[in-house]
């Protein structure tokens, strides 16, 4: 069988099929981290169920020396640890690939393929022989298969040992049992299989300036660095770990050394309506405040997001998107909230959106969200998603400029208020159509009534058509002005490319890989990743420059494309869609297949 696969170094994909709640995550994470420490470009995607224990869960590791680490759809090795999904897992391994399974029990004949190699390791037997406690036997089975994989793929054992030392520095017994389980699998594989397999690892030096972090942790860290002090939220997958991480960082960094008090207040709200209400209330009295949520939360927040928009109160919403509509698939990824966020709430509303593509941008854009929300006195949404938020990504080390000062926007201070005879809330607009605001508790001269009901530029209640329109037209001008302040699109051009490929968020690595693959198929394409809404002139210029633009996104209704149609003057016929929205992270194959098919259709149409 070995001849079927030519030898490949640092270029393969592994899929691990597990049962949820059996402790497989730590074994899978250990492998991923060890490969990262070996300096090799790697990604790990956790495809997990909305369940605590018992349902199937998968973990995919892709290693690619050229840095293409989007989800692969061809698996060289499947670790089949879940008998419920054996049939499907066996089907998914590529021709000539390998299947590692627990040979404590015989494999059903129907699962035998003659074009793959089976690596049977009696994991249960080995663990039952070496561990006493039932729970430990289950947990250690995972570490044992990790041991077998270390042998099969040539993972650096020294690095693995080092990782276990770090992880269990204060739990010696656990360290010992992990090492024991690791050796069980490792020794068995070395003795029974030809190790390494034809695809294996060799140390590189591509990750020394990088970190391995998930987007939700990076988002929380961004909120800490931005100086957020009030956070209100309602638990919802996949955003919960944003607030868990924020709490952790606040414990670490926000305990005042002199007073012992916490320089932050995190409130677990009764629902998302309340969470956004608290955020708005806190911003109204002058704090940097935020909430983290997902699609269903965005729907519930709609009402008050309109209030914040109309009354011009800053608010930061971290939307970690999942599959909708309704409850949808809470543990699957999608970019399905673009339209819901862009126009959240009833009436004429438009919001500022930021689209990070990986955890490093989550950190950077989280800070940016607060600056924009306060400068433009309006809600700002950062649209991350489950793939970015909950998977570990290899990204450049985060950097910070100590000269940074928060942009608090136009807030009148005591000195300015003392000189003022009468404060009129929505007058005195600057070049970006932003009026000055005041905070309670500073001076009576700044007092005014904040209201979501009709108001004129003076801030007074109105039902007059002219006075009403005056205010909402300025809001539109203000929104447009924000285009210059959102992060610019990332654009990469090739010679003479007539095709543009446009994407956003976590589609980035798959689309980049596709752009590298397409020339082999005779297609040269330019790349643009949109990072903010309202769209800047650069976005529109790129779309106009190309005969056709493929908009790659993860939702059914082509929401980014729809937004481009609505909010730019680009001809609709120039914008075509590549959509993948089943809930798993995007793969380059989704993009190349879609483009080849559509280019074929286009050429065919021209030929006729």
């Amino acid at each position: 069988m070995h001849q079927l696969l030519r030898t490949r170094v640092n270029d393969f994909a592994v899929k691990l099929a597990n049962v949820n709640g059996t402790g497989s995550a730590s074994a899978n994470g250990l492998l991923m981290q060890a490969i990262f420490r070996m300096g090799i470009p790697v990604s790990g995607k956790n495809l997990f169920p909305s369940n605590i224990q018992g349902l199937p869960t998968w973990y995919e590791i892709r290693v690619n020396k050229d840095g293409h680490t989007a989800r692969a759809l061809d698996y060289d090795l499947i670790v089949a640890m879940n008998s419920q999904t054996y049939a499907r897992d066996v089907r998914e391994v590529r021709e000539g690939g390998y299947i590692l399974y627990d040979s404590s029990w015989p494999l059903d004949k129907s699962l035998i393929r003659d074009d793959v190699t089976y690596l049977g390791v009696p994991l249960a037997e080995l663990c039952n022989d070496h561990f006493k406690e039932p729970r430990e036997r289950i947990l250690m089975k995972n570490i044992a298969y990790a041991g077998a994989m270390i042998a099969a793929l040539d993972v650096d054992m020294e690095i693995v040992r080092q990782l276990l030392d770090e992880k269990y520095s204060s739990k010696k017994a656990l360290r010992e049992s992990n090492l024991r389980a690791l050796s069980l699998g490792y020794d068995y594989a070395k003795k029974h299989f030809q190790c390494p397999l034809p695809f294996f690892l060799e140390k590189m030096d591509t990750t020394s300036d990088k970190i391995l972090i998930d987007g939700n942790t990076a988002t929380a860290l961004g909120c800490v660095y931005a100086g957020a002090t009030v956070a209100a939220w309602y638990p919802i997958t996949p955003s919960t770990s944003v607030m868990d991480a924020f709490r952790g960082f606040c414990d670490q960094y926000r305990r005042d050394p002199e007073t012992g008090k916490n320089n932050c207040l995190i409130i677990q709200a009764e629902d998302e309506l309340s969470a956004i209400g608290m955020v708005i209330g806190a911003a109204w009295t002058g704090a940097r405040s935020f909430t983290s949520t997902s699609g269903p939360g965005i729907s519930l927040m709609g009402e008050l997001l309109g209030l914040a928009y109309y009354a011009e109160i800053p608010a930061v919403v971290m939307d970690i998107q999942r599959v909708g509509p309704s409850t949808g698939m809470p543990t699957r990824t999608q970019q399905g909230d673009i339209m819901a966020c862009a126009y959240a709430s009833h009436g004429d509303t438009k919001h500022i959106l930021l689209f990070p593509s990986n955890p490093a941008e989550c950190f950077e854009f989280a800070v940016k969200s607060f600056d924009l929300a306060e400068r433009f006195q309006t809600p700002v949404f950062m649209l991350s998603d489950l793939d970015i938020g909950m998977n570990d990504w290899v990204v450049p080390r985060l950097t910070w400029d100590d000269a940074y000062q928060p942009d608090r926007g136009r807030v009148l201070d005591l000195g300015q208020l003392e000189k003022l005879s009468k404060f009129l809330r929505y007058t005195n607009e600057d070049e970006n159509h932003i009026a000055s605001r005041t905070l309670p508790g500073v001076h009576s001269n700044g007092a005014f009534f904040t209201r979501g009901s009709g108001h004129n530029r003076l801030g007074a209640y109105t039902e007059s058509p002219d006075e009403y329109q005056d205010v909402v037209e300025r809001l539109l001008r203000k929104h447009k002005a924000a285009a210059k302040f959102v992060p610019a699109p990332v654009i990469q051009k090739r010679d003479r490319a007539r095709i543009g490929i446009v994407t956003l968020g976590g589609c980035d690595p798959a689309v980049r890989e596709a752009i590298d693959l397409l020339p082999q198929r005779g297609i040269e394409a330019d790349f643009m990743r949109i990072r903010g809404f309202p769209f800047s002139e650069d976005v529109e210029a790129f779309l106009n420059e190309h005969d056709v633009n493929f908009i790659v996104e993860q939702n059914r209704d082509a929401q980014l494309r729809s937004l481009l149609v609505l909010e730019t003057d680009v001809a609709k016929s120039k914008l075509r869609s590549i959509l993948a929205f089943g809930g798993f992270p995007l793969s380059a194959k989704n993009v190349t297949d879609g483009i080849l098919e559509q280019v074929g259709e286009l050429t065919h149409a021209i030929d006729r």
Binding site: K261, N263, G281, T285, L304, A447, F449
Partner: protein, 351 residues
């Protein structure tokens, strides 16, 4: 609470508080509510309470939702910031505002639609969090702005203007507050300023969430025969069960004994609530006793009023969260940002 425009000139004989401000300085815009609305009387009581307490106008935050009641923050203290937010969401917004700046005095004005239907959850959780604020429900049993639908506080059998009786059990904010662990619970009547003013003052001095349910009749939609929230019915069935007054800090407490004995409760800020008249079997600091007393009297068709329950021992949201004494919004940025060196160090954990 002027319902007619008054001259701007302030007569020199008007009494001033310790800040040198007159009652006029605590007034707001002209009321646009119906003539005779109970809410305007509540506004008048708020103006007096704030003037007597000498609250600096700019340190007050007036919070409301949507409804007739929620319009009233416009009618008092025009020198304070106000927030007329969204229907039912005031408690949530006030919680956030308080979280960011605990130095302000918060008054939330709500109604029975705002608090007992669309915003019931938010109010319940603000009670649980013991957010330090005075929370007034101007309770009239009816939706005014949408013209006369029953609210959740309408009593069984109470009749609408058209004569239809309400059949669903009411939500009683006092009973609800008692069951949720509210730390300050009062009920009063908009027509009883003598009782209401000291209750409001005590509520403003309270350590946490002060729930004040004020029966405030709606003259337009719920003041007819057959309504249990009319002026006539309320006057007839109200029973002032506790008599209390409020003594600010550093004031000599003169000993006067009420009819049934005196209980004093020292507030967190050093002021004192003195109960000058409570029934013999009534202890305003005993939740169980208060609950059974109220149930008993409610069964007899009485609307029991007074400062009914008070507990100064429970920490508020900030105390529970160990947040700083000053407003979080005022913590300097250099205390909030860990800086570049720390970021570099932290990232060693993500290798």
């Amino acid at each position: 609470m002027p319902s007619i425009a008054k001259p701007v000139a302030i007569h020199p004989s008007l009494q001033k508080n310790v800040l040198g401000l007159t009652m006029r300085d605590y007034e707001g815009a002209m009321s646009t509510l119906c003539a005779g609305c109970g809410h305007d009387s509540v506004t008048a009581a708020i103006v007096r309470a704030l003037w007597e307490l000498a609250t600096p106008p700019h340190m007050l935050a007036k919070m409301s939702g949507i409804g007739c009641s929620s319009k009233t923050p416009t009618y008092f203290v025009s020198g304070a910031h106000g927030f007329n937010s969204a229907h039912g969401r005031m408690a949530a917004i006030a919680t956030g505002a308080n979280a960011a700046n605990r130095e302000l005095t918060y008054i939330g004005i709500s109604g029975d639609g705002d608090s007992l239907s669309i915003g019931l959850g938010h109010m319940c959780h603000a009670i649980r969090r013991n957010v330090k604020m005075l929370y007034i429900i101007e309770n009239n049993g009816v939706y005014g702005l949408t013209k006369g639908q029953f609210s959740a506080s309408a009593d069984v059998g109470s009749k609408s203007k058209r004569g239809e009786p309400n059949r669903m059990a009411p939500i009683d904010p006092v009973a609800l507050g008692l069951s949720l662990g509210a730390t300050f619970i009062a009920r009063s009547f908009s027509g009883d300023k003598e009782q209401l003013v000291p209750i409001l003052k005590a509520g403003l001095a309270h350590r946490g969430f002060a729930l004040v349910d004020v029966i405030s009749p709606c003259v337009t939609f719920n003041d007819h025969v057959g309504s249990t929230k009319s002026y006539l019915h309320t006057r007839k069935h109200t029973r002032r069960v506790t008599e209390s007054d409020f003594v600010p800090p550093a004031t000599e407490i003169l000993a006067t004994i009420g009819q049934s004995g005196t209980t004093t409760v020292t507030m967190h800020d050093g002021s004192v609530v003195r109960f000058t008249g409570v029934p013999k079997d009534y202890d305003p600091t005993n939740r169980q006793r208060v609950t059974s007393y109220l149930q008993e009297h409610q069964g007899q068709g009485e609307v029991v009023t007074g400062l009914l329950y008070l507990d100064e021992s429970v920490p508020d949201l900030h105390e529970m969260s160990n947040s700083p004494d000053q407003a979080l919004s005022k913590v300097p940025y250099d205390k909030l940002c860990p800086g570049a060196a720390e970021l570099a160090k932290l990232q060693e954990e993500y290798r």
